[in-house]
């Protein structure tokens, strides 16, 4: 009996393979409606007849049957009390007060139109991909307005380039402003140059004033090195102390403008 059934199924499969092909695809398109009880009587009988002999489609029908009622149960999850607390902590009244007042204080006229456009923009900008699309459209419009032969703003890029090259003096009405800016810049430059000259003179004077002491320090240091080479440590120490003293005096003379140069 079973062998006869297998033969029958095998025969049917061969016939379907050579004629209409597998009916599973057609059955699958009707399964949701079968589950929802929306199929016409004949279609329902045809699908049920197919399910009797097709285990994969039957498994699909069973899964569709129990999954349908389960899906709405997934509509809400409990994120926990910590979630609510966290949201409320991030949305304080202070933040709200910083915002413009609600619908009661909507402006009218042109301001109202701008307000409306602003709200529309604020809502649209949240849509994913909206900003790149706007940028793309703006680029296309800009190219059409400035680059296509006969475009109304075709001369603008050339004029802008010319202006950038020539500077602001070529702009009508800006010549006086440019002269004023140039005069202020020259004054500033003169002040800076004067201060720099003063500083350089003071540094030069400090250097000259402390030069003898620095020379003495170098001389003591060189003498100390020679004594060290001759292994006369006591004399080397004395010369070292002399070098330190001369260095201290050189620093004092460089730093304090009222100190006088004194020989040893």
């Amino acid at each position: 009996m079973n062998g006869g059934r297998r033969d029958g199924e095998g025969f049917l499969r061969d016939v379907l393979a050579r004629t209409s092909g597998s009916p599973c695809g057609r059955a699958e398109t009707l399964l949701p409606d079968l589950t929802d009880g929306l199929l016409a009587d004949l279609d329902r009988q045809l699908v049920q007849a197919h399910l009797e002999h097709c285990a994969p489609c039957r498994a699909l029908a069973v899964a569709l049957g129990w999954a349908g009622p389960v899906l709405p149960q997934l509509a809400v999850v409990d994120p926990g009390e910590a979630f609510t607390a966290s949201v409320l902590a991030r949305t304080s009244r202070r933040q709200r007060l910083d915002l413009p007042s609600p619908a009661t204080a909507r402006p009218s006229g042109m301001a109202g139109v701008m307000d409306h456009v602003g709200r529309w923009w604020a809502e649209r900008i949240l849509v994913p991909g909206f900003a790149p699309r706007v940028a793309y459209v703006a680029t296309v419009v800009l190219v059409l307005l400035t680059s296509v032969p006969g475009a109304p703003l075709r001369a603008v890029p050339g004029a802008a380039l010319k202006l950038m090259t020539a500077g602001p003096a070529v702009l009508p009405g800006t010549a006086g402003a440019a002269q004023w800016v140039d005069a202020r810049a020259a004054e500033g430059q003169a002040v800076v140059a004067g201060r720099w000259d003063g500083l350089a003179a003071r540094l030069r004077e400090k250097g000259e004033r402390s030069q003898p002491a620095r020379a003495q320090a170098f001389a003591h240091a060189a003498a100390a090195w020679r004594q060290l080479e001759d292994r006369r440590l006591s004399e080397a120490g004395m010369e070292g102390l002399g070098a330190l003293d001369a260095s201290r005096r050189a620093w004092t003379l460089w730093w304090n403008d009222d100190e006088q140069t004194t020989g040893e």
Partner: protein, 200 residues
Amino acid sequence: MDQAQLLQRCQTGDELAWEVLVRTHQGRVCAIAWHYLGDQDEALDVAQDIFVRVYRSLDTCTEPERFEHWLTRIVRNACIDKLRRRKARPPRQDIPADEMMSLASSAADPEQQWLSNARQKLVQVALQRLSGINREIIVLKDIQGLPLEQIATMLDLPLGTVKSRSSRARVELARAIVELEGGPAPSGPVGGGFGAEAVS
């Protein structure tokens, strides 16, 4: 509580009204984010950001009766943004069922409760195996119960396309469930094997 009144109170800066609004919608917002993103922690983070964004743009919701639609749209956009940013990252693993957030269940009997939970977890895992558009339609239509017209508007698709997509999405979900259960291998969407037992 009247949705319009609640929203108006929120727009005037009433913290109590805002708390009620958050408590009313947080479960749904988290669920949608979770179904889109497939990751609990990420869904909670995105859901928080969504509420902050909603709070700051409450004034732009001028039609209180369409608040839920407006909110769903914001959730969807935020999740799609998140998915786009995540594209460069390695694909996520299947969600361990035990780590998922607790789901609402109406079953009272412990045995039924266990079965219900098991099935919810199985469906949740199967959902993550669906293609993006099919998962989206299942989430919006079969889970959140939005009308087809609203979904068509939201997805910017013709109504007929959404209808046919909806049927295909349910079949794809059923196929994923069967595969997870280790049942008989179902055929693909077009043609495929005809009766495994028939050829054995």
